[in-house]
């Protein structure tokens, strides 16, 4: 069974806040749920499927279904880190295709900025992790995990810091048009290289922002989508592929996007060259570069040349990427950027992106998420979306 055309994204909402010390995490989930349902033109009573990941407090759906006052017949709390919400859209489409629900609500929210989260500090993933005894003593944190991938990519393919910097430059060009973005000042390659080296070879401006906030999506069956007033955005392909250390046979410069992307493209029946807009998870600049290669937008090892000279800037380059400013400049709520990747792809397909960055007649878009850590183990999820 394919999910192609079986479900539509009918509601999408990104919380405008980037700093919410006066709100609870559950409250942020509720506010984005309300926003996405209003966007769709649906009510809470229409929701019969609920999806959330590890950012949701308590026992995920148990806590949140009660808090949100939902009455559902299908739940899913798949957690693949920041890529979870792309997986949720795919699983919602599967559940709808199988008749398990009609209207699925997906929520994400968190307050890492208010809680003092930093990419140079260890994150707690819970007890009994099989890998932890072999990683925690060595000071594995978020940024040095990604930095080791960047270092290896430079070694194998000659990728440069200047090339990585272009990814931030493109994000900042887009973010200047987003009134909610945390970093709205356009930056240059030199600005990135002049920012402090945090973990070689990554500079401060190679990193995403830490922000409070959240986002939500509503996925519905075709008949319901067609009864609503919003532009039609349907799911035509999806892939999900966690990737790890392979028992110590490392392959650090290839991400799970090589697998999830292939699955999604095959299901959708389209090629990378057909994609008019791409949301690419951007926890760090290197994350974007590796995924672009693995998705087939360029050859493996040629990502540096591909991203340079503004090639990711809307209206300038060949592939507009992260036109909201991405995690690098706009928003990275709950340290999980997958949700905002889907939301900006939906905006582009609806023609509702900022006019300065809107892709003309955007009918085919891709959203790509990673989660966890590229240098150890990560989730990867790819969605291909079409405007009908």
């Amino acid at each position: 069974m394919t999910i192609k055309g079986k479900a539509y994204i009918v509601g999408a909402f990104e919380h405008p806040t980037r700093h919410a010390p006066d709100k609870s995490v559950a409250q942020l989930h509720a506010e984005v749920a309300k926003g996405a349902l209003e966007d769709a033109g649906l009510s809470r009573k229409d929701v019969d499927g609920y999806f959330c990941a590890g950012d949701a407090p308590g026992l995920g759906p148990l806590s949140m279904v009660d808090y949100l006052g939902l009455r559902v017949r299908h739940v899913d709390s798949t957690d693949t880190g920041g890529s979870s919400y792309l997986v949720h859209v795919a699983h919602a489409a599967q559940a709808i295709a199988a008749g398990k629900c009609n209207v699925a609500l997906v929520t994400l929210a968190g307050r890492p900025r208010s809680e003092g989260s930093s990419g140079t500090q260890p994150r707690s993933w819970g007890a009994n992790l099989p890998d932890a005894p072999f990683e925690a003593p060595y000071g594995l944190v978020t940024i040095n995990s990604y930095a080791m991938v960047a270092m290896r990519h430079m070694h194998e393919f000659g990728t440069t810091s200047e090339q990585l910097a272009w990814i931030k430059v493109a994000a900042s060009h887009h973010a200047q048009h987003n009134p909610h973005a945390m970093l709205r000042e356009p930056v240059t390659v030199k600005d990135v290289l002049d920012s402090p080296l945090i973990a070689d070879p990554l500079h401060r401006l190679d990193c995403c922002v830490v922000s409070d906030g959240g986002g939500a999506l509503v996925v519905a069956r075709p008949e319901i989508a067609k009864s609503l007033a919003r532009p039609l955005v349907r799911v035509i392909g999806a892939g999900e592929s966690p990737k790890g250390q392979a028992g110590g046979r490392l392959d650090l410069t290839t991400s799970g996007a090589a697998w999830s992307g292939k699955i999604a493209f095959e299901e959708a029946g389209v090629k990378p060259a057909d994609i008019q807009y791409a949301s690419i998870y951007d926890s760090f600049t290197i994350t974007v570069l590796v995924q672009l290669e693995d998705l087939g937008f360029c050859e493996k090892g040629r990502g540096g040349a591909f991203v340079a000279d503004g090639n990711l800037i809307s209206g300038v380059g060949r592939l507009p990427v992260n036109t909201d400013g991405g995690g690098l400049c706009n928003n990275h709520p709950a340290n999980r950027g997958g949700m905002t990747k889907v939301i900006e792809a939906v905006r582009q397909l609806r023609g509702e992106a900022h006019p300065a960055v809107q892709v003309k007649n955007c009918a085919l878009a891709l959203a790509q998420g990673t989660g966890g850590q590229l240098g150890t183990r990560h989730g990867s999820a790819t969605l291909i979306l079409e405007r009908v």
């Binding site: 140079t120 072999f134 925690a136 000071g139 080296l197 028992g247 110590g248 046979r249």
Partner: protein, 129 residues
């Protein structure tokens, strides 16, 4: 400069022999008697063929730096995280220590040293040969 405090590994029964050996200055790697492959981090069941016939083997303790990164900001003392590919063929997450961190390079030959942790067994790290 102050010494970096190394967090103790959370030892569980499956991997206790690894840390018992580390306390004696020996680096162990898991080897599968069925598929004759080393894997790391260590599992009871082989990472490659899922056989239960895995055994601990003492590694030579030498290898090559596969990749690394020096964390310079946001921490009290800079340190170098790395993957070292052991001569047995598997890569191990570790730190490069007892050297000028600015001189660390991919491809450098290294050997194991054992460093004390905060209230736990010592852990293997590597230093340039």
């Amino acid at each position: 400069m102050t010494e970096r405090k190394i967090p103790a590994p959370q030892v569980n029964p499956e991997v206790k022999p690894f840390f018992d050996a580390a306390a004696e200055g020996r680096l162990l790697v898991k080897f599968c008697a069925d598929c004759a492959q080393y894997h790391h981090y260590p599992r009871a069941l082989c990472s490659f063929c899922f056989s239960g016939r895995t055994e601990w083997r003492e590694a030579k303790g030498t290898g090559t730096i596969h990749t690394y990164s020096v964390l310079r900001r946001g921490v009290p003392v800079p340190y170098c995280i790395a993957y070292v590919t052991l001569d047995e063929g598997v890569s191990i997450l570790t730190n490069i220590v007892d050297c000028d961190l600015d001189s660390v390079r991919i491809g450098q030959r290294v050997k194991v040293v054992f460093k004390p942790t905060e209230g736990g067994p010592p852990v293997p790290m590597f230093t340039p040969i």
